[in-house]
């Protein structure tokens, strides 16, 4: 394997990492602020992708589709928060796991009911399609570079929102002691609805952005959900910075694992089964990474103990 | 130093830049109450945690009845006779009072790895549990779920749990915290009677109780023991007054 190809794969890994960060950001925000395990995050991701596909299909505009994704996911999030999640803050994780598991069923089948069982069309807009030439002779899809840019912007904006604004201070205060911040005059219910809607909107944005280069179909959120969980657990639940680092680690591990493990396995099990064994190990690589990280740091890289 | 029950030798512990324990040496002798006082954040709870085994010291050692227990965990030290009470009540909230005490009896008698015999039908566990409840005045509440107890009753339960272990020494972190005046008085009387059974290392901010109970007092400031001595000597010590007691005393 040439060095340039390896470099390109590293870039692919970083790109996958940023994409994973987009998916995980909302999840970690919601967990960090509300202490809530939201298994339905993947469903909100799916809602975003479907809304984008439907609206951009009707209007022909990708940007309108993105806006619709944000709006639909945020609205779904706000609704879910007010109807269901609000009653779960005081419960233990078990109830949260179960209720949001139920929400997955409702969202998935509800979407199928609305949109049918076949995948929807959502594509990269023409002004972002095709590759650009990078140094070293790497052709890289424009759209993926745009996704990296959006991911970095979201990371920056979230860091600013949480760390640098009064709203962020109140959010973090609510995270530490919900009742106390209410007793000091902050409308915690509205704040939480807001945060949940924001987390949902981020999921929807990710769904729409990523949906354009993947398939928009019922159930698309589930593999993403698991990946996003792996990312935030590695990074330390609730930490935006952790989610970012975790996402990059997972992206790199997954990409390089897929690329390198079959090569490495050739030397271990011989060329016949190298492809299958290598790919099998590669599909477990991120879980192995996660287990290793947690064995060394039981609450993730940036987690609080 | 032969007849010390508990010994802390040169124990140090740092949290980042904070030196919470700074070469602490301290002992507990049979039949005494040794009070540990000091300003907030001096490192008292940190020291207790290291004695109990919940925190590992960076340096130094902890000895229990002549045995070095520095490398042992919480449970193993408890099995060697160390009973600890918590600054914030730590009890199983959904179990009854009696079940909590029986559990402690299981621990004390090493009867945990039994899967078939009902714990509450085992007289060897029940008898010491009821005896301990009687001593702290909770006999009437044996069947009450702990979550339904008042704060003061929970503090008593906390004590009963330590009693049933029949320990060789007690380590108590602010047992009077949150008790009202009457509760404090009762608890003080209980503690005074307890030291005959096993010596007590007592961390407490209630100076009335400390001066009433302690045989010796050590003063901890910024992780260092600045004075150890009889209550009167400590009360008179000018360093102690400046660092902790203030001039109002």
């Amino acid at each position: 394997m040439s060095l340039v190809l390896l470099l390109e794969q590293v870039l692919n890994g970083v790109q996958l990492g940023v994409m994973l960060f987009l998916m995980a950001a909302g999840l970690t925000l919601i967990f960090g602020v509300m202490g809530l395990i939201n298994l339905a995050h993947g469903s909100l991701y799916m809602v975003g992708a479907f809304a984008a596909a439907a609206v951009s299909g009707l209007t022909g505009s990708f940007l309108l589709g993105l806006a619709a994704a944000l709006a639909a996911a945020a609205a779904a999030g706000a609704l879910v928060e007010m109807l269901v999640i609000r009653r779960l803050y005081a419960r233990d994780h078990l109830d949260q796991v179960l209720a949001t598991f139920a929400l997955i069923l409702i969202f998935s089948e509800g979407t199928r009911w609305l949109f049918g069982s076949f995948p929807l069309f959502l594509d990269v807009p023409t002004w972002l399609s095709g590759p650009v030439a990078l140094p070293l002779g790497i052709d890289y899809p424009k759209y993926r570079l745009a996704v990296i840019a959006v991911g970095l912007a979201v990371a920056g904006a979230l860091a600013w929102l949480i760390g640098g604004t009064r709203l962020g201070v109140q959010i973090r205060a609510g995270e530490a002691d919900r009742e106390m911040i209410a007793a000091l005059g902050v409308d915690i219910n509205r704040l939480y609805t807001l945060v949940f809607a924001l987390g949902a909107a981020l999921a929807g944005l990710a769904g729409a952005l990523v949906g354009a280069i993947q398939s928009v179909q019922v159930g698309m959120g589930e593999p993403v959900l698991i990946l996003a969980f792996v990312v935030i657990v590695i990074g330390g639940i609730g930490s935006i910075r952790g989610a970012f680092v975790g996402a990059l680690l997972v992206g790199l591990t997954d990409t390089l694992g897929r690329v390198l493990l079959p090569v490495i396995m050739t030397h271990i099990v011989g060329p016949q089964s190298a492809a299958t064994v290598g790919s099998a190990v590669a599909s477990m690589a991120i879980y192995i990474l996660m287990a290793l990280v947690l064995l060394v740091r039981p609450s993730g890289l940036f987690g609080r103990t | 130093m032969t007849d010390t029950v508990l010994q802390v030798r040169n124990v140090s512990k740092a949290f980042g830049a904070v030196q919470a324990s700074d070469g602490i040496t301290l002992d507990l002798r049979p039949g005494e109450i040794h009070a540990l006082i000091g300003p907030n954040g001096a490192g008292k709870s940190t020291l207790i945690a290291q004695i109990a085994g919940a925190l590992r010291p960076d340096a130094g050692s902890v000895w229990l009845s002549g045995q070095d227990v520095t490398a042992l965990g919480v449970a193993e030290r408890a099995n060697l006779g160390l009973a600890r009470s918590f600054q914030v009540s730590a009890v199983a909230m959904d179990l009854t009072v009696l079940q909590n005490v029986v559990l402690a009896a299981c621990g004390a008698q090493r009867r945990v790895w039994r899967f078939f015999r009902a714990a509450l039908r085992d007289e060897r566990l029940i008898a010491p549990a009821r005896a301990a409840l009687a001593r702290v005045g909770l006999t009437g509440e044996a069947a009450t779920i702990v979550a339904d107890l008042s704060h003061g009753q929970r503090r008593r339960l906390e004590l009963a749990l330590a009693l049933v272990l029949e320990p060789t020494c007690f380590v108590m972190d602010e047992p009077l915290a949150g008790l009202g005046a009457d509760g404090s008085a009762e608890m003080t009387a209980l503690l005074a009677g307890l030291k005959a059974q096993a010596p007590i290392l007592l961390v407490e901010h209630d100076m009335d109780a400390v001066f009433a109970l302690a045989d010796r007092i050590s003063v901890l400031v910024y992780g260092k023991i600045i004075a150890t001595g009889a209550p009167d000597a400590i009360r008179a010590d000018s360093d102690v007054r400046r660092a902790y007691l203030g001039d109002g005393e």
């Binding site: 205060a173 530490a176 007793a183 000091l184 | 907030n40 008042s150 003061g152 005046a181 109002g248």
Partner: protein, 231 residues
């Protein structure tokens, strides 16, 4: 006669199905300190939680400046001018001292500078995380945080529990200053009768969820104290 700042009339409250308050009457006047006393578990904290609407009252009324508070959410009560220093301090541990103070700040006479003027130690630790402060510093922070909301009524629940005697003295001094200089009404729970007597104007005693005595603090005879408070 003008209405008192805070007025509770026959307040009752439940935790789930078990009743904790059976009828509490209590008033706090502006510029005065009222001490709320009683043994453990008699309902002091519960009373305070119902005032702040952290717990709904089952019956009775709570008036702030003549306005009924029942039915309002807690943040509305706080915005009407009730500042709480809760039992157990409850500082926002992961936030810095400065963030703790600004989280709920509302415009008014009290701002960062004035709080730091009252507790100079907080000024030295502005960028430190509240969770790593010593107990006494946390208590100061909790008081400062309540003041930042510019309340008309300040409620302190066991504000000196677990504090070293020196720190305690400082806090009593600060409460005295507040009362004299800001004209706040203050409702105070503390276990040391001796120290309360020095600062409070009036007192209410709770027993088993009922207010059983109310009056000027000087009028609280040792006999009464012994029978209701066990001292």
């Amino acid at each position: 006669m003008t209405a008192p700042l805070l007025d509770l009339r026959g307040v009752t409250a439940l935790y789930g199905s078990s009743q904790a308050l059976f009828g509490v009457d209590l008033t706090v006047e502006a510029g005065q300190v009222t001490a709320l006393m009683g043994r453990n578990g008699m309902g002091k904290t519960t009373t305070i939680r119902t005032i702040c609407r952290l717990l709904p009252n089952r019956a009775g009324e709570v008036f702030l400046d003549g306005h009924e508070l029942s039915g309002l959410p807690p943040h509305r009560v706080a915005r009407m001018g009730v500042g709480l220093v809760p039992e157990g301090r409850r500082c926002f541990a992961p936030l810095t001292v400065r963030e703790n103070l600004t989280a709920a700040a509302r415009p008014g006479a009290w701002g960062l500078d004035r709080v730091v003027g009252l507790f100079p130690r907080l000024g030295e630790r502005m960028a430190q995380r509240a969770g790593t402060l010593s107990g006494g510093e946390q208590q100061m922070l909790a008081i400062g945080r309540a003041l930042m909301t510019n309340p008309r009524l300040l409620i302190l629940d066991e504000a000196t529990e677990g504090l070293a005697p020196t720190v305690r003295a400082e806090i009593w001094q600060a409460i005295g200053t507040l009362k004299r200089e800001s004209g706040l009404g203050i409702l105070l729970v503390d276990k040391s009768l001796r120290e309360l007597s020095a600062v409070a104007d009036s007192a209410v005693i709770l027993d088993k969820g009922r207010s059983v005595w109310a009056g000027r603090i000087e009028e609280l005879s040792p006999d009464l104290a012994a029978s209701w408070l066990g001292v």
